[in-house]
């Protein structure tokens, strides 16, 4: 049992998570980091990143990147804002419009990558510029603003911004996305194709895997997840903002790699991605509970990140050598 677990891609991330969590639990006595509210805090933080990290991770396992998630989050929140606030439209149709826009951006990315065979790093970078440029241009054209309020119905508020105590409903969304991601990657046939596409594209194609379909589907999933995060953030903060989500562009790949996914594709697990995200949430939230001088905040972040990844690596090696 234990041995088998140790060999899984997430073993390292799990060990790193436990160590980091214990570290903060001990370093922040009496500040409530381990309390229900403190836990809700870092879970809230991890949840939004986690929702987009999972499809980004699947995409990375299939061998591709998506740098356009940042602008998609912003665009989706602005669609909600412009629709409900400027045009006074009801919120639900706008939610679906935002999701459709996310899917369309993903589809465009996927088609462009698959048809032109250009590296997705560049294609999605161009998309990122185009989407944020279009969002800003259109917002300024329509409303003279790049950030605007969102008027949401109670039902929408419940679905996207309900809170129990301090825990946001986004945590449930995260779990849902993680569960779906897990079923797809580890259990479904499509998941086998994802691994194969990233592991050896030629071999996968030769074996009859529809590699183009795999990639396009994952780009669409990523676009959808980014749009969902835009909706969650927008409804929660009652406002759309074209720059929402910019940080995710690099945080998502980071937590995915921490979670044990190979940057070159072909290897990784959803559990690992979830743990990597949780680790990131614990670090970036917990660090403030320590009361350390925040002038050094990035130094601490870097050191903790390095320590976590080293622990991760050490466990993985240990696991491989003992089998």
């Amino acid at each position: 049992m234990l041995r088998n677990f140790m060999k899984r891609p997430e073993a390292g991330a799990f060990a790193a998570f436990v160590i980091t969590y214990l570290f903060f639990a001990l370093a922040t006595p009496g500040t409530g980091f381990v309390s229900v509210n403190g836990t809700a805090g870092w879970l809230n933080l991890a949840a939004e990143l986690g929702i987009v990290a999972i499809p980004v991770g699947l995409l990375m396992i299939s061998g591709e990147f998506d740098l356009s998630i940042g602008s998609t989050v912003g665009a989706s929140s602005m669609i909600l804002a412009l629709g409900t606030n400027q045009y006074g439209l009801p919120v639900w149709p706008m939610v679906f419009l935002a999701l459709a826009a996310g899917a369309a951006i993903g589809l465009a990315n996927g088609l462009a990558v698959v048809k032109t065979k250009l590296p997705s790093f560049i294609v999605t970078l161009a998309t990122n510029f185009i989407v944020i440029g279009a969002t800003m241009g259109i917002s300024r054209l329509i409303a003279n603003v790049t950030s605007s309020s969102i008027v949401a119905s109670d039902s929408a508020k419940f679905v996207f911004a309900a809170r129990w105590g301090q825990a946001n409903i986004s945590i449930l969304w995260w779990l849902l996305v993680a569960f779906i991601g897990y079923r797809i990657l580890s259990r479904s046939i499509f998941g086998n194709w994802i691994y194969a596409t990233g592991g050896n594209l030629d071999a996968a194609r030769g074996a009859g895997v529809p590699v183009q379909r795999v990639k396009i589907s994952l780009f669409i999933a990523t676009g959808l997840a980014a749009a969902l995060v835009g909706i969650l953030q927008g409804v929660q903060w009652n406002s759309g903002n074209a720059t929402y989500g910019m940080g995710f562009v690099f945080q998502a790949p980071i937590v995915v790699v921490i979670g044990g996914v190979l940057l070159t594709g072909g290897y990784g697990s959803v559990t690992g991605i979830v743990l990597g995200t949780a680790l990131f949430g614990v670090i970036s939230s917990g660090i403030f509970y320590t009361g350390w001088n925040t002038d050094w905040i990035q130094l601490f972040l870097g050191l903790l990140l390095a320590a976590a990844v080293l622990a991760n690596n050490y466990v993985r090696r240990l696991a491989l050598s003992s089998k």
Binding site: W193, A204, Y267
Partner: protein, 260 residues
């Protein structure tokens, strides 16, 4: 003569200015083993990549079961019952034996939304099929292919093709990395597949293997069909010369015999 399973008519395949195949015509018949022979770089692998939908021919027609066909992808070919062992398009090192074996034709269990890939079945079948070839060290379908020896990987690919190659089986140098026992087993399995009515294309540089199982022989020299004959129509010597790209092998052979 029965209707050929697959037929190439005047097929060309160019890579940029490299003419890998020139005016190739040939027929694969069901229940027969066609040996594709030729020197290194003669175009054999390119030819089978055209047969299996991996490459599109630059010009010419491919007929499958009597109808002109264009395989848009290897997937399509595979779904029509053509299974291939490629020479250089290997397996996926970071995936398990079971998952590699069933890649592209995974067995499912359960119902939507809980339909899953049946890993237990996949692992069992994969190990069983590989052990048929005499491999004893591979006992778990969960082992990563990347940790297997060259021959073990080759057996995986062959076992897979034989398991799925309902109508047609294409094997590009399947025995080259294999031990004597495993190679003999592969030849034996090919004969069984032939009995079951599959059309088989077999590439090898081993004259002994070719002569022992081949029904018809097609020889490529520099991308062109240089000869095509039936079992027993040519002597071992003639075949060897053709396999060497038309050059006279007797001298080299003598050389080898000297010390043998």
């Amino acid at each position: 003569m029965s209707q050929p399973l697959m037929e190439l008519r005047d097929v060309d395949k160019f890579f940029g200015s490299t003419k890998a195949l020139k005016h190739v015509s040939m027929q694969v018949e069901p229940g027969k083993i066609l040996c594709l022979l030729g020197d290194n770089g003669a175009g054999k692998s390119t030819l089978i990549k055209v047969l299996s939908g991996y490459h599109q021919p630059t010009s010419g027609t491919l007929m499958f079961e009597g109808r002109p066909t264009k395989f848009a992808s290897p997937r399509e070919a595979r779904q029509r019952g053509i299974a291939t062992v490629h020479q250089d398009v290997g397996s996926i090192p970071l995936m398990s034996v079971g998952r590699n074996f069933f890649l592209g034709a995974e067995p499912a269990t359960g119902r939507w939304p809980f339909k899953s890939i049946d890993t237990r079945l996949a692992n069992e079948v994969a190990v069983e099929q590989m052990q048929k070839f005499g491999l004893t060290r591979v006992t778990s379908g969960d082992q990563l292919v990347g940790t297997m020896s060259g021959g073990e990987r080759q057996v995986l690919a062959i076992g897979r093709a034989m398991y799925f190659g309902a109508k047609m089986l294409i094997l590009d140098e399947p025995t080259s990395a294999l031990g004597v026992k495993e190679a003999a087993m592969v030849l034996k399995m090919m004969r069984i597949a032939r009995q079951n009515g599959a059309g088989i294309v077999f590439i090898t540089h081993n004259a002994r293997h070719a002569m022992s199982v081949g029904d018809t022989f097609v020889v490529l020299i520099q991308g062109e069909v240089a000869a095509s004959f039936k079992r027993g129509e040519k002597s071992r010597e003639e075949v060897l010369n053709l396999m060497a790209g038309g050059e006279d092998m007797s001298e080299l052979e003598d050389d080898l015999e000297q010390i043998d």
